[in-house]
């Protein structure tokens, strides 16, 4: 459970919505109706009640037409995505959606890297539904780097960021990015975005970034962690091997996967490093080993230099 600062009134409202949905829905299990906080960070509150999950989304993002389009796309692909059950509602000024509960990945057990690779490959192989919004660009790296304060680690991350192409830094139009075959992508993939549904099969959740885009960005996080020495090579091999074997479109068929993964991996390494440095400073603590490994990777990215030519 993640706990931070959500007001108790919001928790109570979400719990109430969850209880109402659980009561009206045919209950598929005897899961207790005691509300439970699943996530409470970064302005997001997720409450589970029985088989129902109620989410208050991050304030300040666009929950208009494009979000509705994403909900429709998710609903049309129930074998791949577990999205909201309907349009969002406004609860005390917050955007709230209701979805079916799925069992998250247990961080204490062997991580389902091969399942993850297969699930993403299946998503990327799906014909892009009509009216799918464009994914756009990886906006989080610039957002996180902009939040950095002063310090040596901060400078190291900023130097690496400066080597990224202008369209990734948000200093050139998205149209400046290279032409790549686009498919349906999750847009913010990590192991917290996978749940096991009632049928025992994995689904992707959190569809706020779902869209038409370059699939290599869905592999960016594990690629970044592998290249930074944080993700074990065996785990990376299981993930990429399963992805390739399932015909995933993000890497060239039979070719060098790094031809397409290098830039996304660099961008995510910088984004993760920035997040780690900000989190350590906020907690007034030193970087732990893996966090320092991410900052060290930024140093190597700066040395490797001109990522623009990779773009």
């Amino acid at each position: 459970m993640e706990t931070e600062t959500a007001p108790p009134e919001l928790f109570a409202r979400l719990a109430e919505i969850g209880r109402d949905s659980s009561r009206t829905a045919a209950r598929a299990s005897d899961a207790p109706l005691e509300p439970e906080t699943l996530y409470d960070r970064h302005g997001v509150l997720v409450v589970r009640v029985g088989d129902t999950v109620v989410k208050a989304h991050q304030p300040g993002r666009d929950y208009g037409e494009r979000f509705l389009a994403r909900i429709k796309v998710a609903a049309s692909l129930p074998d791949l995505l577990l999205g909201p059950l309907g349009a969002p509602t406004d609860v005390d000024g917050r955007t709230v959606t209701v979805s079916v509960y799925g069992e998250p990945v247990d961080p204490h057990k062997e991580l389902p890297w091969a399942d993850a690779g297969r699930l993403l490959a299946a998503l990327h192989s799906t014909p892009v539904p009509a009216d799918t919004p464009s994914w756009g660009r990886p906006a989080r790296v610039a957002t996180q780097v902009a939040r950095l304060g002063e310090g040596l680690a901060e400078d190291e991350v900023r130097r690496a960021f400066a080597t990224l192409p202008a369209w990734v830094r948000g200093e050139a139009a998205v149209s400046a990015r290279p032409e790549r075959a686009e498919c349906l992508i999750h847009g913010d993939w990590h192991l917290g975005q996978m749940v096991r549904a009632r049928d025992g099969r994995w689904r992707l959740i959190d569809i706020e970034d779902l869209g038409k885009g370059d699939p290599a960005w869905d592999l960016a996080r594990p690629a970044a962690l592998y290249l930074s020495g944080v993700l074990h090579p065996d785990d990376w091999e299981r993930f990429l091997g399963a992805y390739v074997e399932a015909g995933g479109a993000a890497v060239p068929d039979g070719g060098d996967p790094w031809a397409t993964l290098d830039l996304p991996a660099r961008s995510l390494a910088i984004q993760i490093a920035a997040t780690c440095v900000i989190s350590a400073k906020e907690g007034e603590r030193p970087l732990d080993g893996p966090e320092q490994a991410m900052v060290d990777a930024c140093g190597r990215i700066s040395t490797a230099g001109d990522a623009a030519r990779l773009a």
Binding site: R41, L111, R140, L231, W258, I272, P290, E291
Partner: protein
Amino acid sequence: MHCPKCHGLMRTYNRSGVHIEQCDNCRGIFLDYGELEALGQMEARHHAAPPPPGWGAPAASVHHHHHGHHAPHHGGVFHMLFST
């Protein structure tokens, strides 16, 4: 075991964990159930492993903050793997 084609004697070889029977006479090869798939997977893995880009952590100094596959992922690594 005898070769189904020329009835020569077949010998068992182990190639990277895959058992294959080869005929001493006609050199024909016999694969057991699942072995063709196993070879295909090995080939796929072989193709999936070109060298990583130069900024990747050097193999000798990789920080394996990973203590076996069943160890809990906590602290910084947990957030890197499980949150945006």
